[in-house]
Symmetry: D2
Subunit: 136 residues, 4 copies
Amino acid sequence: MTTSVKEMLDTYPADLGGVDREAMAQCIQECIACAQACTACADACLSERMVEELTKCIRTNMDCADICNTTASVLSRHTGYDANISRAVLQACATACKACAEECGSHADMHDHCRVCAEACRSCEQACNALLAELG
Amino acid sequence: MTTSVKEMLDTYPADLGGVDREAMAQCIQECIACAQACTACADACLSERMVEELTKCIRTNMDCADICNTTASVLSRHTGYDANISRAVLQACATACKACAEECGSHADMHDHCRVCAEACRSCEQACNALLAELG
Amino acid sequence: MTTSVKEMLDTYPADLGGVDREAMAQCIQECIACAQACTACADACLSERMVEELTKCIRTNMDCADICNTTASVLSRHTGYDANISRAVLQACATACKACAEECGSHADMHDHCRVCAEACRSCEQACNALLAELG
Amino acid sequence: MTTSVKEMLDTYPADLGGVDREAMAQCIQECIACAQACTACADACLSERMVEELTKCIRTNMDCADICNTTASVLSRHTGYDANISRAVLQACATACKACAEECGSHADMHDHCRVCAEACRSCEQACNALLAELG
């Protein structure tokens, strides 16, 4: 898959204010990939016979998907940039990704979809923390 | 308008873990009302002749709408409750609402839609902070 | 709960193109109320002991919540109005609400949250169809 | 960028009901890429000096982003699959992508971000129509 995340950053018509474009593009991409993995994992869990043991996982997946999608949208906007909003949303995203990586990770050996999703969550958490460090 | 926020809380089939139902219902309702006001305000700003002076307002409106919608969804879920995710998302929501209330408030005397939106943002910020205080 | 849906329509700074404001406001309000009810119902189903019999309901709830939220946002925008987009999204919303009302309605006597949610879905379906009839 | 869209489909624990996995994965990926491009393009338009001539483009971008995100989520769920919902949402998505491709395309030679976004919209429209043809 090719997204145009990087191209959209490169064609932005105004100053991006010294942001690290690589860290920004990476974080947006991880967020949208993680949101999709979490939405799909919630539904895959619903199809498992042991669904009643996976209800916490499903809920955490749904929270994480919503937060990742919102984070991707906030980071895709640069006009009238407010670092406080970006920071707060990145912190919420890192928190949700960490929780979801742990939850999915705890039964990754039983459910392949949880293994794949836990990896997406860990990747996204790292990208959020890397961008947070950049923003200072 | 009547929403079923309170009724959905009252028909929840499991323990809500001692949460203050009034504070929770109030916060969910403020979040969904604020999200709508922000989406509508962004678009109303696009229809103003002085749109080029309102671009920061439009962007803040869009960030705030996304974050409020996500917060309403996270708070509407109780299964496998994770206070860390709720807290992080409420903090992001309070931050976005405060920024949007200030931005919209700064030209509320010129644009009625910004005045109405600023009130919705302030109400929502208060409800988020009240629930955060409850969660401890 | 008071939302500012009607006030935001009334403070819109440009022509709304002859839209029926009551039908529009009603539909936006039903959409955001229905989205919240569906999100909460999906989670309430996750907390039922018979969750494995409710997986279709949970999935339909989640689809309906996403579509209702998107419909509310599209309808809250009037600048550069494109009736084709509004119509297509209203049709998708009416379809999802009908499916969700039937699914939740089929076990409304067993689960109070499904009864409340089915009512919200039916109300929203009607509001979408009423607005579709208005749009011609 | 690598997403786990295909991997999530391949690790799904139940029958996918004869869906064409390639068409499905392609469509989900196009939807999430298009949503991001549209969100970024709306914001890039806000940073153009001629923003007052781009308000229709911004609005169409926002509608298209919301609809693409919702379509990606609906398609990522397979439990209790309801072809009517998928079809209705794919039709709304194809409609929004077509409108946005035309709008962005009409000033693609002036604004590089609109050129990139128009390509993402056209790709997504094709993927939606291809999947619609598959669903029958």
